[in-house]
């Protein structure tokens, strides 16, 4: 049995897909809020992905991925059921604390809906009143709504264009929840940094504790390079071993957003290089097929 075998794949849209990977030990150890580092192949890069779910009995973990650059696009193409990842290490990071909050709002934006799900479930199991707020660009991108609804007491969908649920960003959903409930203890938000920043700004004046899960650039994920350092209040923390969860009101989001742009040029280069190579391979295939048929 190959290591890190992909046992299930599901495509949510043109760009988002789910992989369920066999790793019994990790399925046993994983807790909500933790992440893994994946390498697709020997020459690959190490990329961090949040553990969206885990099935201890089946011995699998679930990753939900958005094809944004070279590695995630190549994974979208090559990671089929029965294939294996070259490397998969984790669970990394400190598990999200399931606090004693009695009433929580779990906010997931886009892909962030996946990792916030096990947290919502954990809060539900701990007896909290859970309000789920999820945001997507439009209704075609919506996924896991039924699954999510099942662990929530209230569930609010927001779409940018209003094609599903309420029209607007997740902050609109938070506003709706806050208006109805004066006694919200905690907000947990996972999604693009700009969305988490919005959530933190929305709750700051209300003084509602807000936890966010940061996604800086990482290499090893074990605390030995500092590539993932983030500014939390007046301290520098490494998201991979001190996080990835931090108090959203203390996070310097502008610093995070700037540091995420560090490799924009190289990311573009890698993608172009890959697509060019892919094109060349395709070209070769076609020309050899043409030759083959000519011979016949």
């Amino acid at each position: 049995m190959p290591d890190f075998e992909i046992v299930t794949r599901e495509d949510f849209s043109d760009v988002t897909y789910l992989l369920e990977v066999r790793h019994p030990l990790m399925a046993k150890a994983a807790k909500p809020g933790q992440f893994v580092i994946v390498m697709l192949h020997e020459n690959g890069e190490r990329i961090p992905l949040t553990i969206a779910d885990f099935d201890r009995e089946k011995g699998t973990i679930t990753l939900v991925i958005q094809a944004v650059g070279k590695t995630t696009r190549q994974m979208q193409q090559e990671c089929q059921v029965g294939t294996s990842l070259y490397a998969l290490v984790g669970p990394m990071g400190i598990p999200s604390p399931v606090s004693h909050a009695k009433k929580v709002v779990c906010v997931g934006g886009g892909l962030g809906v996946a990792p916030i799900y096990p947290q919502a479930r954990a809060f539900k199991e701990a007896g909290a009143y859970v309000i789920g707020v999820v945001g997507f660009r439009n209704k075609d991108l919506v996924f896991w709504d039924k699954k999510f609804r099942a662990v929530c007491d209230e569930f609010i969908i927001c779409t940018d264009d209003g094609s599903a649920g309420i029209k607007g960003l997740v902050t609109a959903g938070i506003a709706q929840a806050v208006e109805k409930h004066a006694d919200i203890d905690e907000v947990i938000a996972i999604g693009p940094p700009i969305m988490m920043k919005g959530c933190a700004e929305a709750t700051r004046p209300l003084k509602i504790k807000t936890m966010v899960s940061l996604n800086p650039v990482m290499v090893d994920g074990t605390g030995m390079c500092g590539g993932c350092r983030v500014k939390i209040g007046d301290q520098v923390k490494f998201a991979c071993v001190d996080g990835p969860d931090f108090d959203g009101h203390l996070v310097d989001f502008d610093d995070l957003l700037m540091r995420l742009r560090r490799y924009t040029k190289e990311e573009r280069m890698a993608l172009d290089h890959w697509e060019h190579e892919k094109g060349c391979r395709l070209q070769k295939k076609i020309s050899s097929a043409v030759k083959e048929s000519a011979r016949k």
């Binding site: 984790g90 390079c225 890698a270």
Partner: protein, 496 residues
């Protein structure tokens, strides 16, 4: 009888090792020092006086029989030399390259009192390389002891401990978080000082001893040390996870893009092979003008890697003087030859922003040496009003590391006030059966010190498990149960 060698009759000059010219090598990742040709090795072996008191051996942290292996080289018996080396040194091709011999064996060499000391490291490397090329491995017959030993971290400490425990008949598994074993030898030390192929060859020798390497395994998170000693059935555990957690300077501008730790630069380049981007996926854009802060071996590696990645100008910024620089003299010399510009007694006070999140330069202050501090080194103090700006676009911090917090977060291992694992003199931790050594105990040190710690921990583990140490064999007669088999050397054997 051969005439007795004296200081007058031996070759007066140390046999030089062929090297790539500085101008050429500064732009490639090939090894700088090309190694001895057999004639060179023979000539250098002539210089050993075979002195009876063998001061060199006492200078070697693992006590290699140095005159013994040199004599074999002299007799052109390289296999014999390898056999003697492997009685004590497990990784000769590595140690011969990275040990700071000037402070160890060569520092004590008698010849060194009046001439240059015998090039023990180069000779060790020569034998190690020959063994790799010839495919030699000394795999003794090992009687299984029935004990299961877990080793966390596959760096020099873990490798040394694994080898000793395997030779003692234990079932050894080494857990490594990265996708390849080797620790700092792989991600830290660049190919031009220690090629990855040499590390892989030495690791394969450990595999031949029965050591299992399990990569992609982050102990502390995937399972804990406690789980290893209980449900997973390990009789003893060695923690050799290194120091990790790089220190940042804590000056304004630290978080700008273009400021990174030497660990990150080196990991991207050496392990992830960013030097071959985009054929390898990990990028490491290098600046035109790079400043490396610090003057240890890591700093030297970072500077020389930066040059090879295409930097036009590389500066070393160090707050003390050249005399206090912790790097090996040879490394400083190599960096200098390759064109690194050194700025001694200079300390950064701020990183300057280029307006779009990147680095434009660095503001530094001149330093002068004041009174000696607790460590005995003279404390550098800033010269008031001496600030000046430096134009650079990439800044690498090589100013040391702190304890990695993962072990402390996830186990009950007692830590000291700096967060390193607390051990007794025998490297036993606060948990029964759990030993620790290397940088996670001492803070960042050298490869050979980590190897020494791994071996010391192995000796303690053997004592803890009740395995007799073959280093101290006893020959009590026919009914000996444990001991050293002189024909097969240095392992435990049970006679029927």
């Amino acid at each position: 009888m051969a005439k007795k060698k004296t200081i007058r009759t031996i070759p007066q000059e140390r046999t030089p090792m062929p090297e790539q010219p500085a101008a050429v090598r500064a732009r490639n990742f090939e090894e700088v020092a090309c190694g001895y040709h057999p004639d060179d090795a023979l000539r250098e072996s002539e210089r050993c006086l075979m002195c009876p008191d063998q001061p060199c051996v006492s200078g070697c942290p693992v006590g290699i029989n140095i005159p013994g292996f040199i004599q074999k080289i002299n007799q052109k018996d390289l296999r014999g030399a390898y056999d003697i080396l492997t009685e004590t040194s497990l990784l000769p091709a590595i140690c011969g390259r990275v040990c700071p011999q000037e402070n160890q064996c060569e520092g004590k060499c008698t010849v060194g009192d009046s001439l240059e000391p015998v090039a023990i490291g180069r000779l060790e490397r020569f034998v190690g390389d020959t063994a790799i090329r010839e495919g030699w491995a000394n795999i003794p017959y090992i009687e299984p002891s029935g004990f299961k030993v877990g080793i966390i971290g596959s760096g020099p400490a873990g490798m040394a401990c694994a080898a000793d425990m395997a030779k003692a008949g234990c079932d050894v598994t080494v857990f490594e978080a990265f996708h390849q074993p080797g620790g700092v030898l792989k991600y830290g030390i660049p190919d031009f000082r220690l090629p990855n192929s040499v590390i892989d060859a030495e690791i394969n020798n450990l595999r031949k001893l029965g050591v299992k390497f399990q990569c992609n395994t982050l102990v502390g998170r995937l399972f804990t040390v406690e789980q290893m000693t209980t449900e997973m059935g390990f009789d003893a555990v060695f923690v050799g996870v290194g120091a990790g957690y790089p220190t940042m300077l804590g000056i304004p501008g630290d978080s700008l893009n273009g400021v990174l730790s030497a660990n990150e630069l080196l990991t991207r380049c050496n392990l992830m092979r960013a030097k071959e981007f985009p054929n390898f996926d990990t990028p490491q854009p290098i600046g035109k003008r790079v400043a490396v802060v610090g003057a240890g071996n890591t700093a030297m590696d970072a500077m020389r890697v930066s040059l090879r990645l295409g930097a036009e100008k590389v500066y070393c910024i160090y707050r003390r003087s050249r005399k206090e620089a912790p790097a090996r003299a040879e490394e400083v010399h190599h960096a200098e030859e390759e064109g690194v510009e050194f700025h001694w007694l200079t300390n950064p006070v701020a990183v300057l922003d280029n307006g779009s999140g990147g680095v434009r330069g660095m503001r530094c202050v001149r330093m002068e040496l004041g009174e000696p501090d607790e460590s005995g080194r003279r404390r550098p103090v800033p010269v008031p009003g001496s600030e000046f700006d430096f134009e650079v676009d990439l800044i690498v911090y090589a100013i040391g590391t702190n304890a990695n917090p993962i072990m402390g977060q996830t186990s009950k291992l007692k830590l000291n006030k700096w967060g390193y694992i607390d051990t007794d003199a025998n490297l036993a931790t606060s948990m029964a059966g759990v030993f620790a050594g290397g940088d996670i105990v001492t803070g960042a040190a050298t490869v050979i010190m980590a190897m020494g710690a791994g071996r010391k921990a192995a000796a303690s583990m053997k004592a803890y498990l009740g395995i007799r140490d073959p280093q101290h064999p006893y020959h009590s007669g026919e009914d000996t149960l444990f001991g050293i088999d002189l024909a097969e050397k240095n392992f435990v054997r049970v006679r029927a």
